[in-house]
């Protein structure tokens, strides 16, 4: 059976999906992938706002989303205070060891350390998932975990 929708008001044609609540859009995005969610955030203001919803990242974390999260069993060993932190943690499995953060202190390159500190400071002040994924997507996350333990205390793991 095919039924046509309510056709009244041609101007509505330009406003398709905009009447849906933000929660509905974020639910849709949660069925995509981290990459698609970030790409779809550029569709409209509504999509952009919906893409920041924690529910989306909660689902990505739970599903061990492909391309980002290669681990499952280690999940149970990890303590975290929010889904954001968890997703953050999972972006680089090498940091996890018996539920604690591990930092690679064996790198004596000063320039590299300096760069690490910059990244860490950047991340600590960052509450925007788009920002986090932008840097993770640039494969910078590796450096973040090479920073000092002093800086690490600022993370609320």
């Amino acid at each position: 059976m095919t039924r046509r929708g309510n056709r009244e008001g041609e101007e509505e044609e330009d406003d398709l999906f905009s009447r849906l609540p933000e929660g509905c859009i974020s639910n849709i995005l949660s069925f995509t992938s981290p990459r698609d969610s970030c790409s779809l955030s550029a569709v409209s203001r509504l999509f952009h706002s919906a893409s920041k919803c924690e529910h989306i990242w909660d689902r990505f974390v739970r599903s061990g989303c492909s391309g980002f999260l290669p681990l499952e069993e280690k999940l149970q060993q990890v303590s975290f205070s929010s889904k954001k932190d968890l997703f953050f943690l999972l972006c680089d499995p090498t940091i996890i060891n018996d539920g604690k953060l591990v930092f690679n202190d064996d790198d004596d390159d000063d320039d590299d350390d300096e760069e690490c500190v910059c990244f860490a400071e950047y991340f600590i002040g960052q509450n925007d998932w788009q920002e986090v994924l932008y840097v993770v997507g640039e494969r910078a996350s590796y450096y973040i975990w090479k920073t000092t333990t002093e800086l690490a205390t600022n993370f609320s793991f």
Binding site: N27, F31, S44, Q130
Partner: protein, 159 residues
């Protein structure tokens, strides 16, 4: 206009759409909607339940999907059939599809919310924002500066 019932013992709920059409629906189908469930708990069950935000054509569609969803639970063929119908509707008439999603959300039917969201998500995957706007007739309400910033910030997602 009534939905026919196969079981004479099933209780019938009467509902009225925003454009005044009256529907008689089996209780088991109506209770898929958490909104209707709450209204019945508030003792509206003996009266006609008004649905001011849902038009008759869309309500038909919702009921149809509710019934098919109930049938598909243990039936892969039905599941496939319902999915391809949903995809077809999305491609041929995104306006009705968005109305369906709106109604399902308003009626608070969790199973259909997830189902329609999943179909739409599959449709969106891998497509550029520009193409999605075009296909689904979504207005680009960013300023050029905002759009440039978002594209730059999510550059990795477009590679």
């Amino acid at each position: 206009m009534a939905s026919t019932s196969n079981s004479t013992s099933s209780k019938i709920i009467t509902l009225r759409s925003s454009d005044g059409e009256v529907f008689e629906v089996e209780e088991s189908v109506a209770l898929e909607s958490n909104l209707i469930r709450r209204m019945m708990e508030d003792d509206c069950a003996n009266n006609i339940i008004p649905l001011p935000n849902v038009t008759a054509p869309i309500f038909y569609l919702v009921i149809e999907h509710c019934k098919k969803h109930a049938e598909m639970k243990d039936n892969k063929e039905k599941k496939k059939e319902l999915r391809s119908q949903g995809e077809e509707l999305l491609k041929s008439d995104p306006h009705t599809y968005s109305n369906l999603m709106e109604a399902v959300n308003y009626l608070d039917i969790k199973s259909l919310m997830d189902l329609t969201a999943q179909w739409l998500a599959d449709f969106l995957k891998g497509k550029s924002p520009r193409l999605i706007r075009e296909l689904l007739k979504i207005k680009n309400d960013f300023t050029p500066e905002e759009e440039a910033e978002i594209l730059e910030r999510n550059r990795w997602a477009f590679d």
